[in-house]
């Protein structure tokens, strides 16, 4: 049997671990809420951009713009993972989705270009011999515009040069606090369906920020467009790409924090359970030693009679 002192030390260490994981859980909960609020604040922008595009698509030859057209070339994947672990299956789920996607489209390795946001995804794809062209780490919780530009500028540059034909973005979609889902979404070529989907998905399905009433806007059908639709599209489409990437970043952030919160909650519960079990063992060992001592004393007395 382990000595009493050893068991006591173990109990203390489990309790300490529990305190730490409990604190991490609380921190993640706050961060998650902030990410959600930020995602909502950006929603108006996406909705406005969409409404302009929807009407332009009706009036002008929107298909003429390169970003809308299908184009031959490599396929680019933007993989958003976290820099740090301790978040359950968050990162592995995203990575698995990307691999499934590559396999199902039967893309050879040298036709795939990876933009890795977050250390986990970057390390994984580098070690498996994929072409990881951009590695971006330390994205703050705020997600600044420069973080987004790092990604979208590269996509636009490669697309214009004809190197890549399509681009998809893979990230954890935030459904609710306890539910996230890894998803791959196409962002180039830009389609109307994709943007409609995106605006719809900005709010989580359940919870405080779930959609209330429908926020469809009813704008006019006819616009005066200056200088012309082509010029407006040339400015607008890259902005839509930025918006798409921005929301993917925020979703990933919110998912990361909620996944970590849940993982830390499990850890806290487990630590409590272990400490409880050990306390029982401790009591048992202590009782056994007391019983032994008592029986030694009584047998000593018996012998002296």
């Amino acid at each position: 049997m382990a000595s009493l002192k050893n068991i006591k030390l173990k109990i203390v260490s489990y309790k300490k671990t529990g305190t730490v994981t409990h604190a991490m859980e609380a921190v993640s909960a706050v961060k998650m809420r902030k990410s959600q609020e930020r995602a909502l604040a950006g929603r108006a922008y996406a909705a406005a951009a969409l409404s302009v595009l929807r009407r332009l698509a009706g009036t002008a030859d929107a298909e003429r713009h390169a970003l809308v057209r299908e184009q031959l070339g490599k396929t680019c994947f933007v993989v958003i993972t976290s820099d740090k672990g301790l978040a359950g299956s968050l990162n592995s789920a995203v990575i698995r989705r990307v691999e499934d996607e590559i396999r199902s489209r039967a893309l050879p390795k040298n036709d795939v270009v990876i933009i890795a946001v977050g250390r986990r995804g970057g390390d994984y794809f580098t070690s498996r011999g994929y072409e990881v062209r951009v590695k971006h780490e330390n994205v703050g919780d705020g997600v600044s515009e420069s973080d987004i530009r790092m990604v979208t500028d590269k996509i636009l540059e490669w697309h214009a040069a004809g190197e890549i034909g399509a681009c998809s973005i893979a990230y954890q979609n935030f459904l609710s606090t306890f539910e996230q889902e890894a998803g791959v979404r196409q962002i180039v070529p830009i389609t109307q369906e994709m943007i409609t989907e995106m605006v719809k998905h900005i709010r989580p399905v359940k919870g405080k920020y779930a959609p209330a009433a429908s926020e469809e806007d009813k704008g006019p059908d006819v616009y005066t467009i200056e200088p012309d639709a082509d010029e407006v599209l040339a400015v607008l489409l890259p902005k839509l790409l930025n918006t798409a990437v921005f929301h993917a970043f925020l979703e990933a952030k919110a998912s990361e924090h909620s996944a970590r919160m849940v993982a830390m909650k499990n850890a806290t519960d487990k630590a409590k359970e272990m400490a409880g079990d050990l306390t029982r063992t401790f009591n048992k060992v202590r009782q056994a030693s007391i019983t032994r001592e008592v029986s030694e004393i009584t047998s000593g007395i018996e012998a002296m009679k």
Partner: protein, 80 residues
């Protein structure tokens, strides 16, 4: 003076969200001013300053680096 609703937003944040009576934009084809009940209208903006008047507290200048302006239904949205 009649006002309309003006929203100036960049990807991550709203720079302005409120009523305005008259707003001057740096359009790519020249400066333009939008008043309330403007016809539906889309144009691109170049780098310059947006001047907002009558939105409560005097004139306000917001510098921009280009964007898209959409006016529809007594509402103007600038996407930076």
């Amino acid at each position: 003076m009649a006002t309309f609703h003006l929203v100036i937003a960049s990807v991550g944040e709203k720079r302005f969200d409120g009523p305005a009576a008259s707003v001057t934009f740096p359009g790519t084809d020249g400066e333009l001013t939008v008043l309330a009940h403007h016809e539906p209208f889309v144009t691109t903006l170049k780098a310059g300053t947006i001047t907002i008047r009558g939105g409560g507290d005097g004139a306000k200048d917001i510098p921009i680096e280009g964007g898209v302006l959409e006016v529809s239904g007594n509402r103007a949205v600038v996407l930076l």
